[in-house]
């Protein structure tokens, strides 16, 4: 039996248990997907108090709609989708900005591209100091980009799974992640240069 089928069977057992009134099974679902929900809410929402409300709301919605879950995706992906949509709704309500406005053709704005990248040379700028500034530079990215980067590189989700969570086409997800990585690298390189001056 493939790992994917085993995951579906495990999800089916958990959902069936919850629908039969087993509350411990739902506590287990929370434990299993709490990390993913934390990743999404921390990257999309700045206010700690609102994160707390949103995280609770996500699992209450999941509980309420569990009988409608069709097992077309992993249970964690479905809960991730609820988390993303709940955060998106919050951002819209607060009139916040989700994504940066890159160029029409998907190119980075000119001011974001360092001279090194334009003339083709590349300095080895990344060293042991990277870990120190990486967190800050990720936080400087727009919510959508830091969410996508974290889901791919920290949660090990595939482009297809991220596309399901965000309801974006897979090609768009790839393109956004490419831009986000590029922006992150350019920003870090710029920071190194500023520190050197």
């Amino acid at each position: 039996m493939s790992i994917q089928n085993e995951n579906i069977l495990a999800d089916q057992r958990l959902v069936k248990a919850v629908l039969n009134g087993d509350r411990n099974a739902f506590a287990l679902i929370i434990k299993q997907s709490e990390g993913l929900v934390a990743q999404i809410t921390f990257k999309m929402i700045n206010s700690p108090g609102d994160r707390k409300d949103i995280a609770q709301d996500v699992f209450l919605k999941a509980f309420k709609n569990l009988s409608g879950f069709k097992f077309k995706s992993k249970l964690s992906t479905w809960i991730g989708q609820i988390a993303y949509n709940t955060c998106l709704h919050y951002i819209e309500k607060k009139k916040l900005v989700l994504s940066d406005n890159f160029g029409k053709d998907g190119e980075l704005p000119a001011e974001h591209i360092s001279e090194d990248l334009q003339n083709g040379s590349e300095e080895i700028l990344f060293n042991k100091e990277l870990a120190g500034i990486l967190h800050l530079e990720i936080e400087r990215l727009k919510p959508l980009y830091k969410t996508l980067i974290s889901l791919y590189h920290q949660e090990d989700l595939s482009y297809a799974e991220i596309a399901e969570i965000t309801s974006l086409p897979e090609g768009t997800v790839k393109n956004y992640i490419f831009r986000a990585r590029n922006t992150l690298k350019v920003n870090i390189q710029s920071k190194y240069k500023r520190n050197e001056l």
């Binding site: 739902f26 506590a27 929900v37 609770q56 040379s121 590349e122 967190h135 990585r181």
Partner: protein, 151 residues
């Protein structure tokens, strides 16, 4: 071998999905210091992102959610009802069918035997009541300890 440097998107794909890159591109990177440096930077960047601490809630999310869940809807116990009705029916039919035999055996049994049977049944009943009371006390203790933890 291609002479033009790989684009940034191709470098990223080389690092994250090396199987998706053409052999010509792979050959170029192997012979190009600039593209190798770009790829090395991305490798280091991705490794650092992966190694970075993951965010975590500083409160017990599970406990917060569990106390807000609506009471579970109890489904009508159809299976238990069917089994009960079936059992009662079997006993009733047996009693009707074997009534004469049962009446004969009851009148034939001595008073001592009847007393022993009644005492046995009473003992079992007492044990069951004690067991239920212990179970009830245990549940009350669990609920109280949970309430104290929440306070």
């Amino acid at each position: 071998m291609i002479k033009a440097h790989l684009t940034d998107a191709e470098i990223q794909r080389y690092v994250t999905e090396p199987q998706a890159i053409s052999q010509q591109m792979a050959n170029h990177i192997q012979g190009c210091a600039i593209c190798q440096a770009k790829a090395a930077n991305y490798v280091q960047l991705f490794n650092n992102i992966k190694a970075a601490a993951k965010p975590a809630f500083d409160f017990d999310l599970s406990a917060l959610v569990m106390e807000q869940l609506p009471a579970p809807k109890r489904m009508f116990p159809w299976a238990a009802i069917v089994v009960s009705v079936f059992s009662v029916a079997i006993v009733a039919v047996s009693a009707i069918f074997f009534w004469s035999a049962i009446a004969v055996s009851v009148t034939a049994v001595s008073g001592v035997l009847l007393t022993i049977a009644a005492a046995g049944a009473l003992t079992i009943l007492i044990f069951q009541v004690v067991e239920m009371f212990k179970e009830h006390q245990k549940m009350i203790d669990t609920i109280l300890s949970q309430k104290i933890l929440q306070l």
